[in-house]
């Protein structure tokens, strides 16, 4: 971890226009929660649906994409990354720092709003607010690592990331039960279900699979990103 790298990365992500997306998506979640509460439909089923479909199913992967790729891909694109890479700092340290920044952004912009929305709807009922907040946090960490890696290995990180989230997790995962085992979104729900006692939702992936999966994917992606950064090549404009 390097504080100078972290400081520059925070400023780069939060200073760009993409910060509006980071704010807009959780604002919609909290807005929906307030709306549901105002019209009196604060039953557990509605809350679980909002959490599953929007908080974990839509907002988390999108924020993961913005934060994960946003901490590194624009810098590689415009060449500013050279400023960090031409220093006597090991590249894996730079990758780990960028990952930590992305993960912390997801904790603030995904996990916290998820808890707030759940709390607005149900208070502490059935551990839904806390459960989905935890799921969001764990899923956010995994997304941060995977999308950071995408940002390092491909110039089309956002496209590839959207295809993964939409096509694989939502479409294929929706029809092919086996595919759910390899879906960060499903792992996030597993952690949510571990805390929540609600009868309206059950995780499809077991804790015994989700815990090692999250650890392996996160650590693996960060280590791989660090290695790829070690051999990052610049090609001249010629």
């Amino acid at each position: 971890m390097n504080s100078v790298v972290a400081g520059i990365t925070y400023r780069a992500v939060l200073g760009r226009r993409r910060v509006l997306l980071l704010i807009l998506l959780p604002a919609v979640l909290i807005g929906l929660a307030i709306l549901l509460r105002a019209v009196g439909s604060t039953d557990e089923r509605a809350a679980v649906t909002l959490m599953q479909v929007y908080a974990i199913g839509t907002m988390l992967p999108l924020l993961g994409l913005i934060a994960g790729t946003g901490t590194i891909a624009p810098e590689i694109d415009d060449g500013t990354i050279i400023h960090l890479l031409s220093k006597p700092i090991s590249r894996p340290v730079i990758a780990t720092t960028k990952f930590a920044v992305a993960a912390s952004l997801l904790a603030v912009f995904a996990a916290v709003p998820t808890f707030v929305a759940g709390y607005i709807l149900l208070r502490g009922e059935a551990g839904i607010a806390a459960g989905f907040a935890l799921g969001s946090l764990v899923g956010g960490v995994a997304y941060a690592a995977v999308f950071l890696l995408l940002g390092v290995i491909t110039r089309h990180a956002v496209t590839v990331g959207i295809i993964y989230a939409v096509v694989w997790e939502n479409l294929v995962g929706g029809y092919v039960p086996g595919a759910r085992n390899f879906s960060i979104q499903q792992w996030a729900q597993t952690f949510a279900a571990e805390i929540s006692t609600s009868d309206f939702f059950k995780a499809t992936v077991s804790m015994g699979f989700a815990v090692p999966a999250v650890v392996i994917v996160t650590v693996g992606a960060v280590v791989w990103a660090g290695q790829r950064l070690r051999s990052l090549s610049l090609t001249g404009d010629e």
Binding site: R11, T80, H83, S86, E238
Partner: protein, 305 residues
Amino acid sequence: MIIELAQVSRWYGNVVAVNDVTMTVGPGVTGLLGPNGAGKSTLLHMMAGFLAPSTGTATLDGTPIWRNHEIYRSIGLVPEREGVYGFLTGWQFVLSSARLHRLPSPEDAAAKALAMVEMEAAKDRRIETYSKGMRQRVKVAAALVHEPRVLLLDEPFNGMDPRQRLHLMDLVRELGAAGRTILFSSHILEEVERVAQQIEVLVAGRHAASGDFREIRRRMTDRPHLYHVRSSDDRRLAAALIADASSGAVSLGKAGLEVQAVDFRRFTWLLPRVARDAGVTVWELSPADEDLESVFSYLISGSAR
């Protein structure tokens, strides 16, 4: 410190960008000269650890450069692309560089580096408000902040106004005189001549020539020159010119004469005298191949011999 390239080649797919280059860059200022697209940036990136040679080795004092971040303790790099964080001020940018190097007193180092490039006045403005020349200077300051023994600059004088250019040239010369190893790339001979003691010429990926500027200048001037001449009596002038050994070939066309001068100095001395003695008035004398490309391509064919 010494950068050594040993039989280095680099290709992208089927395209060879750098072809079997062996080069040693030692203390003092070395200019890497070549036309655009000659592979200068590719070569410089391999020296800076941002590109792996396809074959051959690039070392700094015997240590491999590729995948070795420790080299940046001794190397300062000024890339050609405007890779600067526009949202930082000049001061923050240079200070961040000092901190990334973990210097004992980053503030003092940053202030010193900014003073070297005369950027104190604008240091508290955001870099995105800077002109191209100012960005270039702030990049140089960030690269100099840890007082590196090796400085690599890719087309550093591009986009600078004449005053800034002279100032940076002086700075580079001073750093070289102080015993640092400095290499900069340029496609302008005059620029390289003014700053570098040693010149390495790269043409179409190949190491075409090497030497001090006198040597390079001599090799560039002592080549067959092609002249275009129009006069009151082309045929008579042609006959008078070919009688002397300084002209290799003379061809008579509708638009005038094409003269191939083998001995440049003698030819320029001879032509007015021959014309006067033959009673011919010369209306026009123009070099037909004075562009840099043909000079460079001569160097290649010369070095291939």
